[in-house]
């Protein structure tokens, strides 16, 4: 029986350690992307402690359920995720292994952004032969500031529920953010007016919301199907196709491999515009405001 006693002692020790853990004051937030981390920071300031699971240089589809992320899920009071299956390859592992009921789907501590906004490109039928397709619609919702406004409002409401002691703070800060965001959005829209109707080529279809917002015309995607890298044959076909409707520029995100975009750029004589895509993707995109400022500045620089 001695080994059972040993197991019992181990468990008892664990339970004691647990009891000795001090309660954390600041709300612990695990954000799946730097954009959600930036949004939480805008809305909650120093009332929260935010950890970002990924950086602007990572493809959020392809992330490992690293031990460090499981550890952060364990202590999180709130998970802010994109949803719409963007994080499906790793989030379920974090949630299941966390031993943390606060962040399980259906709990107030689990927040998904994409279901709050109108999703574009919802396929009427799905099949894996169509590539890495998202049955719920295109999940790359951040690059339309109108979406951010909607998501921010719901996130403020969630913060109020989770940390009611600071409800007034979150409400006031949320209203103040909405005001600044509305003004900024109006300025961006005015500034970006010349971009309307400009033809662009994208790599992955993750600029859809940006194009939709600014009226950029997406002529083609370098990926023949979502998540499928282009073959040489497909690229040469693309060159022929683009000869008829030459794009003004080719959009590349900070995390994309530059090769295919650069190759195409030389053939179709359109510049590659490097966009931050996420907060931190370029030095200028320090926060959400910087992300949109920089995105529009970079687009305008090459659209002229």
């Amino acid at each position: 029986m001695s080994r059972h006693t040993r197991i019992a002692i181990t468990l008892a020790t664990l339970a004691l350690c647990l009891g000795a853990m001090p309660a954390q004051a600041a709300l612990k937030v695990l954000a799946t992307t730097p954009d959600w981390a930036a949004l939480v920071t805008e809305l909650a300031g120093d009332k929260v402690n935010v950890y970002t699971a990924t950086s602007a240089f990572q493809d959020v589809h392809r992330v490992d359920a690293k031990p460090s992320l499981v550890a952060r899920a364990r202590t999180a009071d709130l998970v802010v995720a994109t949803g719409a299956d963007l994080e499906i390859g790793w989030m379920p592992v974090l949630l299941q292994d966390s031993g943390n009921t606060r962040i399980q789907p259906g709990s107030p501590g689990y927040f998904e952004a994409a279901p709050l906004v109108h999703l574009l490109e919802v396929p009427s039928a799905v099949d894996r032969s169509m590539g890495d397709i998202h049955p719920l619609g295109n999940p790359h919702v951040t690059l339309d500031p109108r979406n951010i406004a909607v998501i921010a409002k719901a996130l403020t409401a969630r913060l109020v529920i989770l940390d009611s002691a600071n409800a007034a703070f979150y409400t006031a800060r949320g209203e103040e953010f909405q005001k600044r965001w509305q003004q900024a959005t109006a300025q961006w829209e005015a500034k970006a007016a010349p971009l309307k109707g400009v033809g662009v080529v994208v790599i992955h279809r993750d600029q859809v919301y940006l194009c939709n917002w600014l009226g950029l015309k997406e002529i083609a995607a370098i990926e023949p199907k979502p998540g499928v890298p282009p073959s040489a044959g497909y690229l040469s076909e693309l060159v022929t196709k683009l000869a008829a409707t030459p794009p003004k520029m080719i959009l590349r995100n900070a995390y994309n491999d530059p090769k295919a975009a650069d190759w195409l750029s030389q053939r179709v004589h359109a510049p590659v515009v490097l966009l931050p895509y996420s907060v931190g993707g370029t030095p200028e995109a320090k926060d959400l405001f910087g992300l949109f400022d920089d995105t529009i500045n970079r687009l305008l620089a090459d659209a002229k």
């Binding site: 059972h4 031990p67 550890a71 390859g89 719920l136 409002k153 209203e175």
Partner: protein, 491 residues
């Protein structure tokens, strides 16, 4: 349909009241009529409000918040707070928290299918060209496991077809079934367990049949292995993978570093234990994992595990000094220590184009008890005591998108077993051919090509010196195809 409900309601009420109404005084009839009218009005009001709600939802639940710019965030918050307050009083684990429905959500054809579990199927197969007859495969110096040793059959082979069905059971449990349909038309239940969802404070309990949490590779399903086969140490010490029929408890520390402790209690049926016809526990395991990141690009995990299990008449086929087949049996305790380490590197942590994965494990097993020689004939028994070990290291590198190459080295150390029958001079050591001193080792190289996350083709070449004398050169081609639900993978 909705409009019929009040009518039906009134009809039911009237039917129920009818016999009494017939005998009732006129003023009672009037009262009833008034009540029915009130009921009708009430139902109409409810139906109208429901219809209005449906119209609102249809006109864009997703954009509901955008279309009400006047709504202060505080108002929305109060609404949500009320919902949560009402629910949190009801049960300890918070029940479904309403996530605003998306207009984008595909319409369900029927509510009967809405709760179907996630189903995935993985098909694997290979072609093997082996320079030695696989029927003679033995890792020299070790008691062979009942299965799971060697590279399999020559030629084309259908490997296991793995069917996984999983779903949340209710707010408290998750359940998973993984059945492997083997190429020889038998079905193995690889895993069939439930897991808790509602325990807090980092605790998770899993019970049923599951791959033990000992070691690193033990929990990894075969379609996620980086080589066609398991390291020799896993083949020899666990017969491939250690399965527990029992209970596992894990605890995750509330720290920024990943610190996980686990304990298992199981039947011990799985090799190196055996079925024992006993009420007591057959196998106990303890394990601890520690992990973290170094910068943006590197993450790591190390672990230590201990397994204590018991064998009773664990028979194995051997050959005596005259070359005649005999059946021997071990009875006693079997303890295994494992130390494992894994490191992954990818530029900025993005494995799309390049990733390096290094891993290594050291396993050491001690067995103490009785070894019986030729149980169906002479049936001689004596003491038996061994300390045997084995290790492997491997590296896999994605050198260009979709292409990976890997190198693995296995080394086994059977040591010199203490066999009572040999030490006392009853039998010569050559009567235990499997346990003669040897130094098995193997070197494997592989290249694989994954057109997508769901398909993989692999070529592997191995110089296998597991046998005492001959070298087996193994060339394997393998396919792995996954269909169905998108599974999430552990580190």
């Amino acid at each position: 349909m909705a409009k019929l409900t009040p009518v039906a309601g009134v009809f039911v009420v009237v039917c129920m009241l009818w016999p009494h109404a017939g005998q009732a005084a006129p003023d009672e009839v009037a009262t009833l009529r008034a009540e029915i009218e009130a009921l009708k009005a009430d139902y109409n009001a409810r139906v109208q409000s429901l219809e209005a709600r449906i119209r609102r939802l249809e006109s864009g639940a997703a954009s509901a918040q955008t279309t009400q710019p006047g709504t202060a965030p505080g108002t929305a918050a109060a609404g949500e707070a009320a919902v949560v307050a009402g629910q949190s009083a009801a049960a300890t684990p918070p029940p479904a928290f309403p996530q605003p429905a998306s207009t984008a959500a595909p319409a369900r054809s029927s509510s009967a299918t809405a709760f179907n579990p996630a189903i995935s199927v993985i098909l694997t197969g290979n072609y093997a060209s082996l320079s030695q007859d696989p029927a003679t495969y033995r890792v020299a110096g070790f008691i062979p496991p009942p299965q799971g040793e060697g590279p399999g059959e020559r030629g084309f082979n259908l490997d296991e077809s793995e069917l996984t069905v999983s779903s949340n059971v209710d707010p408290y449990f998750f359940a998973n079934l993984t059945a492997a349909i083997q190429g020889d038309n038998t079905i193995d239940i690889e895993e069939a367990y439930f897991k808790t969802l509602a325990l807090n404070n980092g605790f998770t309990i899993k019970a049923g049949r599951f791959f033990s949490g000992t070691g690193y590779l033990n929990e990894v399903h075969s379609h996620n292995w980086d080589f066609v086969d398991q390291p020799l140490a896993y083949q020899v010490f666990f017969g491939g993978q250690l399965t527990q029929d029992g209970v596992q408890i894990r605890w995750l520390a509330p720290t920024d570093y990943f610190i996980e402790l686990g304990a298992e209690a199981g039947s011990g049926r799985s090799f190196p234990g055996t079925q024992r016809n006993s009420n007591s526990l057959g196998s106990d395991a303890l394990f601890a994992h520690l992990g973290g990141d170094v910068g943006d690009s590197t993450s790591w995990r190390v672990g230590g595990s201990w397994l204590d299990t018991h064998a009773m008449d664990r028979t194995y086929a051997d050959v005596d000094q005259f070359g005649a087949p005999v059946t021997n049996a071990f009875t006693g305790t079997s303890r295994t220590w494992i130390v494992d380490g894994t490191l992954k590197w990818a530029p900025h942590g993005d494995p799309t184009h390049h990733q390096l994965k290094l891993q290594g494990e050291y396993l050491r097993r001690t067995e103490d008890g009785q070894l019986a020689f030729d149980v169906t004939g002479q049936n001689l028994a004596g003491a038996y005591s061994t300390a045997q070990s084995g290790w492997y290291v491997q590296g896999v590198y994605e050198f260009v998108q979709r292409w990976r190459m890997g190198l693995r080295y296995d080394s086994m150390h059977p040591g010199t077993p203490g066999i009572g029958l040999v030490n006392s001079g009853v039998l010569p050591q050559t009567d235990f051919l499997s346990l003669l001193p040897a130094t098995p080792e193997r070197t494997s190289v592989m290249v694989d090509w994954s057109l997508s996350e769901f398909s993989r083709l692999r070529a592997q070449y191995a110089w296998d010196q597991a046998r005492a004398h001959e070298r087996d050169e193994q060339f394997l081609l393998q396919y792995i195809f996954a269909i169905g639900a998108h599974g999430a993978h552990k580190f």
